[in-house]
Amino acid sequence: MKTFLGIPTGRPTHDVASPQPYAAQPGHASTLAGTARGNAMQNPNEPLRWGTNFPDAAREALKNEQMRRNLGHATSTIRNKRATVVGEAPDWEDLRDAGSQIKVNVAAQLPALLEEFERNFTARGGTVHWARDAKEANHIITTLIKETGSQEVVKVKSMATQEIGMNEYLEAQGIAAYETDLAELIVQLGDDLPSHILVPAIHRNRTEIKEIFERRMESLPAEMTDAPRELAMAAREHLRKKFLRAKVAVSGANFGVASTGSLTVVESEGNGRMCLTLPETLITVMGIEKIIPTFEDLEVFMQLLPRSSTGERMNPYSSIWTGVSPGDGPQNVHVILLDNGRSRALADDVGRAALKCIRCSACLNVCPVYERVGGHAYGSVYPGPIGAILTPQLTGTAGHSDPNNSLPYASSLCGACYEACPVKIDIPTLLVHLRARAVEQDKADHRPTAWGAAMSAATVIMSDSKKFAFAEKGLGALRLAAGKKGYVHNVPLPIISGWTDSRDLPTAPKETFRQWYKRTHPNGALASDLPAADTKPTDDSSPSSAGTESETTHD
């Protein structure tokens, strides 16, 4: 089954217990050297690696003009809201600096902070579990749910549980996990995949949502239209029954406070508050990088996150809980501290900056690439600029044909993401860093590439001006190709044809700049004709402008 984007939907529920490493698809140009290709096929069980490489997935996505219009409209609306509320904060840049520095410190002392969190969370009656990867986390969650005897859980929207494919795993174990965030509900009922961190159903319009509800919800109002309020009321009715009977809830966490052992969920719809307070058992899955040192640090992030995320000054619901409160709320409280590749990212002195991310999705909303291709093209539950640097670090990359190796190239390096990031992740620099790692990996694999050869040749030419000047003469070929037209329309060569598919190339000039300068400045720079107090005597330049052409005389 495929979505209207042609992307495989809903990861199959079989075999999720033992996710296989990435295997190249049949027909994929290159395969992993020395690996048996017997059952080579795409493994859609991996929430951080599905589908084909980015350029191919993007090409498909670009064909969907309706989705592009939807995305353009949605992202520009959020962008403008964010710009307004960020503009209101006079200390915004200071807040960004503070948020960034807190996260840098967290990375530097993560083991100690995690142990401090564990002590405090345990002292208040909670139980801490440690999970190295998705498999361990899913196993722990399943065991905890089975101990309660419940066959279903309600869920707070959570990227961590998306990342480990929890819903699909539980389904295979006979446990139903109900998403209660409206957009996640739409994605779940549509057997779809999320395409945005904050607004996972951003690629759906309301007509599609109404159709999904009609197909999957019971006892809908007879005359329901696709008006947003009516759709929301239908979802509310659908969810209310589930909240009231649920014995177990699963959540993520925006922050975990080491000094107090508190967990935090920040949300907009109140569904989170329902899940966090009504059931008897509460299981939270939190990436280890979400730890912050003290309760005071929350004040920085509680200002940064809502403004960056939904473009609001403050989000409607902020829930903070610390272990168990006797007689009030869940009495069986667990947290699973999830690594799942984070230690690998932490070991990279440049790449670790990606772990500063607070999942606000501001970078998605300002990204010109995301706006045009949407989230599914990134083949991960983490799309957009942050996905391009986070996904390949969490999974590691398995050689040249691994689609996650194409993610760091999915950017024009325009820098809009860095400008918007509330914790100042220098995403363009990380993208370049990860590109360099992909190139190093090819080199280590003794894998020659056309790009590598071109870059080697360019190094020879571009580190020596004599060779460069000689190469410039070769550009006369462009003039031949252009003929009288004065532009080049079609170059049937690999690499360059990627350019001439949609743009003309200029023809080479009759005279390069260095030829012009030599002709017009035969004795070097023309002496300044104005006295300049801050310059030293001009012994090193020609005092004469004789012999130069009129075009260089001074006005």
Partner: protein, 268 residues
């Protein structure tokens, strides 16, 4: 002031009009413009494609070419490109450090501190916004991502353009959106790049400007290539070309090569 010009590899080879205009402009303002002939390229293409090791010899050549600025051979270095200036200021030293060449990194940092993108040099160093230019045409300006975000040149190009006699300056809708060039992005992710370009071209044409200007010929090559393919009446000129134009020696916008025609050619 004695100013060394880094012409940029792409303009030296393909768009000499930009560095030529830079020379004319600065000489008109009474400054000496030197062209250290051992220069080639800043290394940005290698760096952004991930070939950091292969970038080092290119960066070394750039840094050594312009290192005499540290011995007061020149007072400043000017480069008529926001992205090359950005690479010099934000990438060169990092790449050298990573390659274990800390001495070269130190020199690169010092040279970068004396390097200015053209509008920065004019407004901040030479403290001039009215350069005595004359350009009686309708112009719109694309601020370019690296000028805007890596360098933070802000409204300096507009300060300069607003003082040009006869100019009709019109705002470019969604000006801060990337044109989709991104160096090798334009060929590695050609389809996405083209989609971004089409939106940029639509916005440019909406202005009805005769000339699209920018401070970087790499972006102009991209947008200009798309405008030409579309048969647009709008053509491209570097900021330096407009500022170099005077009543005495006026620059004329380049002709639209195929105005009114729209030819679709399949290349694959």
């Amino acid at each position: 002031m004695r100013i060394a010009l880094a012409a940029t590899c792409i303009a030296d080879a393909l768009f000499p009009q930009a560095p030529i205009a830079t020379v004319k402009l600065l000489e008109r303002l009474g400054h000496e413009v030197h062209f250290p002939s051992s220069q080639t390229c800043c290394g940005q293409m290698h760096v952004n494609t991930g070939y950091l090791d292969k970038a080092v010899p290119v960066i070394k050549n750039h840094v050594e070419t312009f290192a005499p600025v540290l011995d007061n051979e020149w007072d400043a270095i000017v480069i008529p490109s926001g992205s090359c200036a950005g690479s010099i200021k934000h990438q060169q030293a990092m790449v050298c450090d990573r390659a274990g060449q800390s001495a070269l990194a130190g020199t690169a940092r010092a040279v970068a501190a004396k390097t200015y993108e053209l509008s920065e040099l004019l407004v901040d160093v030479l403290e001039v916004t009215n350069v005595g230019a004359y350009f009686p045409h309708k112009v719109t300006y694309h601020p370019t991502c690296h000028s805007m975000r890596m360098l933070g040149v802000g409204d300096r190009p507009y300060q300069l353009l607003r003082e040009v006699e006869g100019i009709e300056l019109v705002e470019l809708p969604d000006e801060n959106q990337c044109c989709g060039f991104g160096g090798t992005f334009s060929v590695k992710n050609s389809d996405t790049s083209s989609a971004m370009l089409q939106d940029k071209i639509r916005n440019v044409e909406e202005t009805g400007a005769r000339v699209l200007s920018a401070g970087d010929y790499s972006c102009l090559m991209h947008i200009g290539g798309g405008l030409n393919r579309k048969g647009s009446d709008t053509t491209t000129m570097h900021l330096a070309e407009i500022l170099a134009s005077t009543r005495h020696d006026p620059a004329t916008p380049p002709p639209a090569l195929r105005a009114g025609q729209s030819v679709k050619v399949a290349t694959k």
